[in-house]
Symmetry: C2
Subunit: 514 residues, 2 copies
């Protein structure tokens, strides 16, 4: 997602729909508070990482229970601070609790430890082989930056927090300043779970404050070992720069910017262009378009059905109500992006949604251009965070391929196809594999399943590290590194690496799965 | 390892033992040659990555056969250019061929693909679950920098090349200028294997040249997707900087700098101090000390046996013959490092090896200091590449722990212990897990087994990415990233992800191992 700076620099909880502040100001933190919270995390790390998988699984489940126990106060705070509807926030709470349960299951399954055993071969010539055993260990305290657009699932107890805690890393959350009340409630739930399950106090910490200095100081602190971030390209790259300039550089997993190309294949357009147009608008306008996976780029070859697609999309968009955006700053950035497209010489406005009344109402927008114009101006490939999308009309399949090849790295790429499009689509799959973390057929990119086979990641600038995912069970790998143990006596070996100690976790034994 | 700049800027093959150039000059490359070799790699990538695992396994095995077919010419060239003895180079050839076979086995086993399948749940409420399948795909063309100290096993067809080719990435080797003849022979063997197994021509390329510009231009080329490097800290950090400054940053796996602390536990010292001293010197002086895992730091608590250790080490070192170092530049850097330690106010010279005759003869050295001095001067913790080591005498266990905690990231950490040292050692293991990629008991860090459970990596500055290894089968992960496929029809799915298509490779099916 590409968000602007926030329109409020204080620490008030803002009602997104009215722009009014609600309740008392929050006690915020300054750069001077970073030391204490990092010291607590560092002090907790040796104890926390030594907890066994079952203990951490129980802790994660307890966090979920404590979040549910917050009840309506949490739902109401998140709705008010984000402007998102109740059903969405209730769903997001379920997703957040589900993620915590998923990682509890990951911990119990044990594959995350990456156990390997190569037994000694004392009689090997010319040299005996030592006994070698390997497991993954946690990196250390992790800084997590809450996202504006998922006040629960990508924030205080979101995916980054769940995966880092599962890995055995203490977490320090830099709360997103757009939802301090929501963040404070969730932080309270996590602290309650820490206390209830006997984890060391510094296992979880949080910092509340506007401006960039606080987060920058957190990433620069030598006790922080890795960073999880979901937000703007500018924000993510700033954190990467700070992390790389440290005496000891650390990994930053920043999920930043994606326009999620959707390719309308010829036969699909011919057979169901109008239906695709309506379905596209439903995906485009969901949640005021404020998804990292929003379909911001549509590609099609001129031909039968494309007019029907455009007409149906225009009709549906014309009926789309304006929606409250997350913050006035994000709305202002959206308007600026829309303005740039509207005034672009090579871009035509296809349709706009309804005008809204009140602050921060996002009016959806759909534009059109051709491949030559798109290829000539890289700015047309930049994300406009919100319900905005650009159709690129291509003369033929080769031109469409050229547009895809020129596009930046993406979280997702989608093919809308009929069976008759198989050859057309098959040519594109290898191109899309190099561009995106997830390839979809006949779906829409919005809606990211929390699963084992999910990749919510992708080549730069979709993320700062395309080798990983921030959604799904594979995300735990981001906070681990392998350690090899050579000829350690049982008394020193981690229990899981002793003979028979894996407790059902998979082991690669002399190169063979057990 | 920490090497200096080379003492020759031309492209002559130098006899390390005499400093004389041998044979005709090599045709070298300039920055202007980078484009063509990268274009060839990029052109080969779509075809090469689409080869199946069996085809790539056969290709890797064929490279090994072609290397063996080079016969004595290769052994003689490598001995002459490195100054290393024949038995060592023959062993290194065996290791190199063994690594290629290991990755052939990894390819056939299939775990490297990371296959995951989450079947669709069409009836799930409130929303159906899509069909999600995941596999790892190769990153793209990889630049590999040959190492000075392993002319075969960490160079042209070394571990980085083997793991990248196994992953499906074309490789461009920047040959180490200290062994152009060896590199040219191995490159010929790889090209013969490319031709014999029908791989696209650009699957392998190489560049020969002195100076830093050539390698820098290679890393900056937008078609390069990742970098493997073994060499000096300065060299590795320079490549990291170039990689991070690109429009699209890429991962750099640089193995750079490590002094490999060896802890002599009290009971072991008391029971076998003298034997440890002799064994230590054997490890220290092996290969003129030119190993990334050379024991450059020895830690012990003052007490019974330490004098015996020091006396035995001094006696053994006094008998140690000078050895030819890899290049005159590396020898000069070694002498400079020794000089700095010799003249350090808080450092005592324990013993030196024998003086040598002829160019680039490395005279081994063993120094001693105390913990307070070590903690006061970070320079005492920097690598001196060659047969040099520093004993740090600690007043008690707490001081020894403080020295370990202050040390930089390491490839290895070693405990010499008796059973009576178990409590002493057990306190240190958690500290060492955070400092090093491999922990050894009662061995010496030199000698890195090529195995499944090996980690030759470690926290910064041992490597630029402590989440990985450059030796052993896990190294293939460095050149892969996961892609998720949502609702793809069989016709578009990669064959290995179709139902029943895994061919025996492990699959995580709905979160369960199959």
């Amino acid at each position: 997602m590409d968000a602007a700076t926030l329109d409020h620099t204080g620490l008030r909880s803002i009602d997104a729909a009215t722009g009014e502040s609600v309740g008392e100001p929050f006690a915020g933190h300054g750069v001077g508070d970073v030391d204490a919270v990092c010291a607590a995390a560092a002090a907790a790390f040796p104890t926390y990482r030594a907890t066994d998988a079952e203990a951490r699984a129980t802790f994660l489940e307890r966090i979920g229970e404590e979040i549910l126990a917050l009840g309506d106060e949490l739902i109401e705070a998140a709705c008010r601070e984000s402007g998102l509807p109740r059903a969405r926030i209730e769903g997001e709470r379920g997703r957040t609790v589900g993620q915590l349960k998923l990682f509890a299951g990951v911990l119990r399954e044990g594959g995350w430890m990456g156990l390997r055993v190569d037994p000694a071969q004392p009689d090997r010539a010319p040299l005996p082989r030592p006994d070698l055993r390997l497991r993954n260990v946690p990196l250390g305290p992790v800084a997590v930056f809450g996202a504006s657009n998922f006040p629960l699932a990508f924030s205080t107890a979101g995916g980054d927090t769940a995966s880092a805690l599962a890995a055995g890393c203490p977490v320090i959350v830099k709360q997103h300043p757009a939802h301090p009340h929501t963040g404070a409630l969730v932080a309270r739930a996590i602290r309650a779970a820490v206390a209830a399950t006997g984890m060391p106090e510094g296992t979880f910490g949080d910092l509340v404050g506007a401006g960039n200095e606080l987060g920058g100081a957190l990433v620069a602190d030598p006790r922080i070992a890795a960073v999880g971030f979901t937000g703007s390209r500018g924000g993510g790259l700033a954190l990467v720069k700070i992390a790389q300039a440290r005496a000891v550089p650390i990994p930053v997993y920043a999920e930043m910017s994606s326009i999620n190309p959707v390719v309308l294949c010829p036969a699909a357009l011919a057979s169901r262009g109008a239906a695709l147009g309506a379905a596209f608008v439903a995906s485009l306008t969901m949640g005021a378009g404020q998804f990292c996976t929003n379909p911001g780029l549509v590609l099609a070859v001129e031909g039968e059905g494309l007019d029907a697609f455009v007409d149906a999309a225009a009709a549906a968009l014309g009926e789309a109500a304006a929606q409250v955006m997350l913050t006035q700053g994000i709305h202002a950035a959206y308007e600026k992006g829309i303005g740039a497209l509207s005034s672009h010489a090579d871009v035509t406005e296809v349709a706009r949604g309804k005008v809204g009344e009140g602050v921060a109402r996002g009016q959806a927008a759909f534009f059109s251009t051709d491949a030559k114009a798109f290829l000539a101006d890289a700015a047309l490939g930049h994300e406009v965070f919100g319900a905005s999308s650009l159709l690129v009309r291509c003369a033929d399949a080769a031109e469409l391929e050229a547009v895809l090849a020129a596009a930046e790295g993406q979280l997702t790429a989608t093919l809308q196809m009929d069976e008759a499009d198989t050859d057309f689509a098959a040519r594109l799959v290898p191109v899309l594999e190099l561009k995106a973390g997830r390839i979809l057929v006949n779906g829409w990119p919005t809606g990211v399943e929390v699963a084992h086979a999910m990749v919510h990641g992708g080549p730069f600038p979709a993320t700062s590290d395309g080798r990983t995912t921030s959604v799904g069970s594979l995300a735990i790998d981001r906070f681990l590194r392998p350690v090899s143990y050579q000829n350690l006596p049982d008394a020193l070996l981690p229990a899981v690496l002793r003979d028979g100690g894996a407790g059902g976790a998979p082991v690669l034994h002399d190169g063979k799965r057990r």
